[in-house]
């Protein structure tokens, strides 16, 4: 075990590297300090609350004081019918906690707690009910003990899980290493089936920017928000662009720019106005790319950077190219560079080494997007930010955001240091880490795949199928596993786990309402976001995700001839690559066979080119390096354009 442990050094949480003494409590120094501060403040409140009782102050003050011990506790001291308000206040407090989590509404729990104490004081008669304070104290201690018991149980279960993980990790990691070392095939081409999936993305991305057809409209705070649908859709298109059609501009570029510009519409990001007010008590400056909000800067930065990296278009580096306009008077002019500046500024100032999405809540998964955005900036601008920020980022992830099982904690309160469970598996982190820390990513996937494996069973036809218990689709908060299967599918493809990928794809096709109609593939029981995952899973092969967001195309690919014009959906592009001089295209008809006009660009001006697969056999580029071409589309149609000798 010792040699296995040393071979894992730096790859996984320290808890999974060496034998645990059974007493480890996973709290880094910052977490410890914040939790200690929270406890001191709470004990201070309890003491202050006890003072009116000890001094035999007027009944109103005594009831209000007891209300500081526990939300609504003051109603017990008030006595009489007001005691009925105790459970109501507690229920409202639970809702306030939910609002705090859901939308960063820091004022909600504080307001309910203090408001209930003040109301209890106002309702008190000439004297308090004598049994009230002891009852409130007992309820407080009871709730504290229940939480303590739960924490101890979770820690014990976590340590047991870590023991199991330590046992299987070396062998599983060796299998992952073997799979990811197989190089991806050089010839990459979307199949006709893949194209039906990609059309799901293009249909949505190619509608006019202000239109929202095909997007799930629920709340704008949590996972179903438009911003996540837009970012995932943009990222999926970037994968198609980078892996399959790097030499295609046309509607592929337009689709990606539409997604970037759709994000700037007020309804996507004005949640930050509300969250700034009720979370930061900031009623004047609602700049969405300044303090916190990594769910915008990190995600959007990655999305915008990926478009620029693979298209060669650098327009979003220009100041003001990404302007968030709230109304006629208020707007915040940003660019890709200022999004990244916000990520860096927040990392520099945050003791946790990770910073919040909503006011106060730090999600490591969103911080993985933040680190990925720095990675893509390095690739795009030749900077060196990952080398500077990643070591401390990983160290803080291990010390401040890892539980007893070695899993990454879903989210932690920045103010109180308290952790909250959030359903993100090792597989989700592995995928993101493959962008900036591939070794760490493989170790995370080595854990994820082993823990998913028992859910792979044989269906009635004897095919492997992933069978997960009924879950929630976080793209619309309804029952469904489309998102979960899609997530596993992307991870399995990314790390070369083809058997698991096949099982996940079979599960999607069998359980999630597969429909292929009008040339578009979709899963009817999933949300828009889950469908985007499914598309990503269908097109990704080993290492595609990590490479797309960390490495740009070869310079000759951006320099050489490109497909500039093609009609959608009449002309579907399955492959478009250039070696700097010639161009290889594979096209499919999207609306029936027949002649289609396409346009080439970035040819050598005035140069003659030999063409195969088109109506023309030879073309001459105009003074701008452009040339039209007529293509008889009939099923898979390969076209080769090369300069004549």
């Amino acid at each position: 075990m010792a040699s296995s442990a040393s071979s894992l050094s730096g790859l996984v949480s320290p808890l999974l590297r060496a034998a645990d003494d059974g007493a480890t409590v996973c709290k880094g120094p910052v977490t410890r300090a914040r939790q200690r501060r929270t406890l001191v403040i709470y004990l201070g409140l309890c003491l202050i609350g006890a003072v009116p009782l000890l001094l035999e102050a007027p009944a109103g003050w005594q009831a209000a004081g007891v209300g500081l011990w526990l939300p609504g506790g003051g109603f017990l001291a008030t006595g009489g019918w007001a005691m009925l308000l105790f459970p109501l206040a507690l229920a409202l407090f639970v809702l306030a906690l939910l609002a705090w989590f859901w939308a960063g509404m820091v004022v909600a729990p504080v307001g309910i707690w203090l408001g209930a104490a003040a109301l209890a004081g106002a309702l008190a008669g000439p004297s308090i009910w004598p049994a009230g304070p002891p009852l409130a104290a007992a309820a407080t201690i009871g709730i504290a003990l229940a939480f303590r018991r739960r924490t101890v149980r979770l820690r014990r279960e976590g340590r047991a899980k870590a023991v199991v993980r330590r046992a299987f990790l070396p062998a599983s990691l060796a299998e992952v290493e073997a799979r990811v070392s197989v190089p991806a095939p050089e010839h990459r081409e979307l199949t006709a089936d893949d194209l039906t999936a990609v059309r799901y993305l293009l249909d949505r991305a190619l509608q006019p920017v202000p239109e929202w057809g095909g997007f799930t409209m629920l709340d704008q705070y949590q996972p179903a928000a438009l911003r996540y649908q837009i970012n995932h859709l943009g990222m999926a298109l970037a994968i198609v662009q980078g892996v399959y059609v790097p030499a295609f501009r046309g509607y592929m570029g337009l689709a990606q720019r539409n997604m970037i510009e759709k994000y700037l519409l007020r309804k996507v990001w004005d949640y930050w106005v509300h969250e700034s007010c009720w979370g930061h008590l900031n009623f004047t400056d609602w700049d969405p790319a300044k303090r916190d909000n990594i769910m915008l800067t990190g995600w959007y930065g990655l999305h915008v950077g990926a478009y620029m990296l693979h298209s060669g278009d650098r327009r979003y580096l220009e100041p003001g190219s990404l302007t968030f306009r709230l109304n006629r008077r208020m707007a915040w002019a940003h660019s890709f560079s200022t999004l990244i500046d916000s990520v860096r500024w927040n990392y520099d100032r945050e003791p946790f080494g990770h910073y919040p999405c909503e006011p106060n809540w730090i999600y490591p998964i969103c911080n993985a997007y933040g680190m990925a955005s720095l990675t893509i900036e390095d690739a795009l601008c030749g900077s060196d930010k990952v080398r500077r920020y990643l070591p401390d980022w990983l160290a803080k992830l291990d010390s401040e955001f890892t539980d007893e099982s070695g899993s990454i904690i879903g989210l932690r309160s920045q103010l109180t240091g308290l952790p909250v469970r959030f359903p993100i598996s090792e597989g989700g982190y592995a995928l993101m880490a493959n962008i900036f820390a591939p070794d760490r990513a493989r170790a995370l996937w080595a854990v994820a795949r082993r823990e998913i494996a028992p859910a792979v069973q044989q269906d009635a036809q004897g095919r492997p199928r992933l069978m997960l218990p009924a879950g929630i689709d976080f793209g619309n908060y309804r029952r469904g596993n489309t998102g979960a299967y899609g997530g596993v599918l992307i991870g399995a493809r990314e790390f070369g786990d083809d058997a698991l990928a096949e099982a996940a794809q079979n599960a999607l096709d069998a359980e999630c309402g597969l429909s292929i109609e009008g040339g578009v593939r979709r899963y009817l029981s999933g949300s828009n976001r889950a469908n985007i995952f499914a598309v990503m899973g269908k097109i990704v092969r080993t290492g595609d995700f990590g490479r797309t967001f960390s490495q740009g195309p070869a310079p000759e690919m951006l320099r050489g001839p490109v497909l500039e014009e093609a009609s959608y959906p009449q002309v579907l592009v399955a492959r478009a690559v250039s070696d700097g001089a010639s161009l290889d295209l594979v096209l499919h008809p999207g609306a029936g066979d027949g002649l289609q006009a396409i346009g080439l660009a970035q040819l050598a001006p005035g140069r003659r080119y030999r063409v195969s697969g088109a109506a023309e056999t030879e073309i001459v580029a105009d003074a701008e390096g452009r040339a039209p071409l007529t293509v008889p589309l009939c099923g898979r149609t390969a076209i080769h354009v090369a300069p004549t000798a």
């Binding site: 106002a122 057809g213 095909g214 709340d219 029952r479 009008g518 029981s525 828009n528």
Partner: protein, 99 residues
């Protein structure tokens, strides 16, 4: 005082609205209309929402009761209200821009 009660109600409304969205479409058999959308076709609502509205009304009812009790007690006992004034005035000023 009434401004404060109104502000409390508004805060609770804002608090509960995102929560209520959780139940907007509770019937798992209803297809998300976003997924069936096609270019040129106006998406139809997937329906549902009754439970969401009920939840919102119930919770806002509770909030209204609390606010009402506060208003009633404070108007019936002006001395108590006066004691809370210095405490509430800055809060009201912050939330509603009025004392």
């Amino acid at each position: 005082m009434f401004v404060c009660c109104g502000a409390a109600l508004y805060l609770l409304h804002q608090l509960l609205l995102p929560v209520a969205w959780l139940w907007r479409r509770p019937d798992g058999s209803v297809i998300d209309s976003a997924v069936t959308w096609r270019p040129g076709v106006v998406a139809e609502s997937a329906g549902g929402g009754r439970r969401m509205i009920s939840a919102l009304v119930a919770f806002e009812g509770a909030a209204l009761i609390l606010s009402g009790i506060a208003a009633f007690m404070l108007t019936r006992a002006p001395a108590s209200a006066a004691a809370f004034d210095p405490l509430l005035r800055p809060l009201c000023g912050t939330i509603a821009g009025a004392g």
